[in-house]
C-alpha cells in the first residue's frame, strides 16, 4: 500500500492500527515497570507489615496496619544502627579518597602522553575484570600480617575495608573519569597559563571545578561498590562484630528457616534506600556531566 494511492478510509484504519500498537507498547512498558519494581515494593511493604501479617499464609500486597516494629527491632535489638553507621563511614571515606586519586590519575592519562601510558590504561581495564572474591585469599593474609605491625589497618578494622574498596574503585573510576577530563578543552588551561596561573593552581582551581559533575557521577559508582560489598567485610571482620557493615551483618541475620522475614526485609530496606536516593540524586548530574557542562 503506497501512501499516494491510499484512500482516507485505509489511512484512518492504518492510524488506528498504529494507535493500537502504541497503546499496547505503552501498556507493556508500564506492566514491565511494575514487574521490575515489584521486588523492591514487596521488600518495603513487608518491612512495614506487622509480624502477624508476615507469618500469615495468605500474603496480601497491602497492609492496613503499617508499623515500625520490624525497624525498631533490627535497629535497637540487632544493632543495625551501628552497622549502618559503619557502612556509611566506609563508603563515604572511599568516595572522598577515591575522588581525589581518580581525578589526579585521570588528568595524568588524558593530558599527558608518556611511555607506558597505553600499558597503564590496559592494566586499569584488566584490573576491572579480576574476580575480587579470589583475591580475598591473599588479601586476608596480607591484612592479617599488616595488623601485627600496624593494628589500625589489620583485620577487624574499618580501615582495612576502606583500603581494599578504595583500591578496587580506582581502575573503573579512572577509566570513567578520563572521558570527563578529555571533554574540557585544553584552550581553557592554556588561557589560564597565559594569565600566569601555575600548574597546581590550574589543576585545583580551574580543572577540578570543571570536571566536578563527572567526579560526582564517578562517585556514585564507588559509593555503591563500597556500600554493597559484603565479601571483604565478611572475610576481614571476623571477631570484632562491632565493626561489621550492613551487608555482612545482614548475611549473619539471614536465616530463612527462622522465618523472621519482617526483620530481614526491614534491614534490607535500610540498606537499599540510601543507594536508591543517592543513585536518583546523582542521575541528573550524570546526564549533565555526559552532555558536557563545559562550552568552548
Amino acid at each position: 500500500m503506497s501512501p499516494v494511492n491510499s484512500s482516507p478510509a485505509t489511512a484512518k484504519s492504518a492510524r488506528n492500527t498504529r494507535g493500537r500498537w502504541r497503546l499496547a507498547a505503552n501498556t507493556g512498558a508500564v506492566v514491565l515497570a511494575v514487574v521490575t519494581a515489584f521486588p523492591i515494593f514487596w521488600m518495603v511493604l513487608s518491612a512495614f507489615k506487622p509480624k502477624g501479617e508476615i507469618q500469615s499464609l495468605d500474603p496480601r500486597p497491602w497492609t492496613a496496619h503499617p508499623t515500625l516494629e520490624s525497624f525498631r527491632q533490627v535497629l535497637s535489638v540487632d544493632g543495625f544502627g551501628r552497622y549502618f553507621v559503619n557502612s556509611l563511614v566506609v563508603a563515604l571515606s572511599v568516595v572522598v579518597l577515591s575522588a581525589i586519586v581518580v581525578f589526579l590519575a585521570a588528568v595524568a592519562v588524558t593530558r599527558f602522553r608518556f611511555r607506558f601510558r597505553t600499558t597503564i590504561m590496559v592494566m586499569f581495564l584488566i584490573a576491572q575484570m579480576i574476580p575480587v572474591e579470589a583475591l580475598t585469599i591473599p588479601l586476608f593474609f596480607m591484612f592479617r600480617d599488616a595488623g601485627r605491625f600496624a593494628p589500625g589497618v589489620g583485620l577487624n578494622t574499618l580501615a582495612s575495608l576502606v583500603l581494599v574498596q578504595l583500591a578496587f574503585s580506582l581502575p573503573f573510576g579512572i577509566w570513567m573519569m578520563r572521558g570527563f577530563v578529555a571533554a574540557v578543552p585544553v584552550s581553557i588551561e592554556e588561557a589560564a597559563q597565559i594569565d600566569g596561573a601555575g600548574r597546581t593552581r590550574i589543576l585545583w582551581r580551574i580543572l577540578l571545578p570543571l570536571v566536578a559533575p563527572g567526579l560526582a557521577a564517578t562517585s556514585v559508582f564507588s559509593f555503591i561498590a563500597a556500600w554493597n560489598d559484603f565479601v571483604f567485610a565478611k572475610t576481614f571482620i571476623i571477631s570484632a562484630t562491632q565493626n561489621q557493615t550492613l551487608p555482612s551483618a545482614l548475611l549473619v541475620f539471614f536465616k530463612p528457616d527462622e522465618n523472621d522475614w519482617g526483620g530481614i526485609m526491614a534491614a534490607s530496606t535500610l540498606m537499599t534506600v540510601p543507594v536508591l536516593i543517592f543513585f536518583i540524586a546523582v542521575q541528573r548530574k550524570l546526564v549533565s556531566g555526559l552532555a558536557g557542562a563545559v562550552k568552548d
Binding site: V30, V164, I224, V231, T272, V275, D296
Partner: protein, 325 residues
C-alpha cells in the same frame, strides 16, 4: 556506564590536530616523561592492594597452604603444580566449571534478550511510560545484590513466599510448600532471574542510547523504501549497534562469569551438597570454609586465566571501534 563514557568522543583540541593522533601535550609541558606526581597516589594504592595480591595469589597456588601453615605452626612447602593437578583430577571441579559456564551463558543470553527487547520498546512508547520503565529499571540496577537476594529469597520462600501462594491460588497444587532451592535447576533458575533483574537495566539503557544515536534520516529513508519494523531492525539498527552490542555482550560475560553474592546468599554458600557452586564461590569456599588456601588460590588463578579471553576481546573491540586507550 564505562561503555557510554568511553565511547563518547572528546572534542578535538588544537594540539591534537597539529600533532596527529597524540592527545594534547600539557600546556608548555614536556612529552614522554610520565607525570609521576599525578600518578603517584594511584600507584601507592594499586601496587600493594591489587598488583601484589595477584602475585601472591599465584604464589599461594603453588604452595601447600592449609590451616596449619596459615596459623604459622608449619612451614610452607613448594608443591609446584600439585594444587592444579589435584583440582584438575577432582570431578567436582569439572562439574563446577561446566555449570559456571552454563549459568553464565544463560544469564548473558537472558539479560541481552530482555535488555534489547526493552530498549526497542522504549523507542516505541510515549514519554511517561518511558520514564516509568526507566525509573523502575534504575531502582533494580541500584539495589544492592545482597538485598536483591534476600527479597527474592522471600518471594520464593517455601512456606511464606508470595510466589508459591499465588501459584497455588491459580490451582497448581504442586506448589504447596514447594522448595525452589531443593532442586539444583530451579535454584539456578531463580538465582539467574535475580542476576538478570540486576543487570538488564545496564543493557537496556546502553542499547537505548545507542538506538537514539542512529540518525533520524536513515530510519526515515528506510521507512520511505517500505522497510517494515523487522527489516529495519535487521538491516539498519542491528548493524549500527554492533560495536556497542559487542561491548555489552563481553561486559555481561565477564560479570556473569563472576557472580558471587547471589549464589552465596540465596543458596546459602553453594546449595545442598554444593550443587549450585560456581567457580568464584567454589574458590572462596575451598579457601575459607575448608582452609585449603592453596587449592582456593589455584582455582582463582584458573578463573583469571579464563577471564583473560573475554578481556582481550574487549580491548580489541574497544580499539577497533576507535576508542583510544
Amino acid at each position: 556506564m564505562s561503555v557510554s563514557t568511553s565511547t563518547a568522543p572528546a572534542p578535538p583540541s588544537p594540539q591534537r590536530r597539529r600533532g596527529g593522533r597524540a592527545p594534547a601535550a600539557p600546556p608548555g609541558g614536556r612529552r614522554r616523561r610520565p607525570p609521576l606526581l599525578l600518578l603517584l597516589p594511584a600507584a601507592v594504592i594499586l601496587i600493594p592492594l591489587v598488583a601484589y595480591p595477584i602475585y601472591q595469589l599465584g604464589l599461594l597456588s603453588v604452595l601447600d597452604f592449609g590451616q596449619a601453615q596459615a596459623s604459622g605452626g608449619v612451614p610452607t612447602s613448594f608443591v609446584g603444580f600439585g594444587n592444579y593437578t589435584k583440582i584438575l583430577e577432582d570431578e567436582q571441579f569439572w562439574t563446577v566449571l561446566f555449570q559456571t559456564i552454563g549459568f553464565a551463558a544463560f544469564c548473558v543470553v537472558a539479560t541481552l534478550a530482555v535488555g534489547a527487547t526493552l530498549a526497542v520498546l522504549l523507542t516505541k512508547v510515549g514519554r511517561w511510560p518511558r520514564l516509568v520503565l526507566t525509573t523502575a529499571a534504575m531502582a533494580a540496577w541500584a539495589a544492592p545484590a545482597m538485598t536483591g537476594s534476600t527479597v527474592w529469597s522471600f518471594l520464593f520462600d517455601t512456606n511464606l513466599g508470595l510466589v508459591n501462594h499465588t501459584l497455588e491460588g491459580l490451582g497448581l497444587s504442586g506448589f504447596h510448600e514447594f522448595n525452589w532451592f531443593y532442586d539444583k535447576w530451579t535454584a539456578f533458575l531463580i538465582v539467574g532471574a535475580v542476576v538478570v533483574w540486576h543487570s538488564y537495566p545496564f543493557v537496556m539503557v546502553t542499547l537505548y542510547a545507542g538506538i537514539r544515536a542512529i540518525p533520524e534520516e536513515i530510519m526515515e529513508a528506510a521507512a520511505l523504501d517500505g522497510a517494515n519494523t523487522w527489516t529495519t531492525f535487521r538491516r539498519i539498527t542491528a548493524p549500527m549497534l554492533r560495536p556497542i552490542l559487542t561491548i555489552v555482550v563481553i561486559q555481561s560475560v565477564i560479570w556473569d562469569f563472576k557472580v558471587f553474592t547471589q549464589i552465596y546468599v540465596m543458596t546459602e554458600g553453594g546449595g545442598i551438597a554444593g550443587q549450585n557452586l560456581v567457580l568464584n564461590v567454589y574458590a572462596y569456599q575451598k579457601a575459607f570454609a575448608s582452609s585449603q588456601y592453596g587449592l582456593g588460590a589455584a582455582i582463582g588463578v584458573i578463573m583469571l586465566l579464563i577471564l583473560v579471553i573475554p578481556t582481550v576481546l574487549y580491548i580489541r573491540t574497544l580499539r577497533r571501534t576507535g576508542n583510544e586507550l
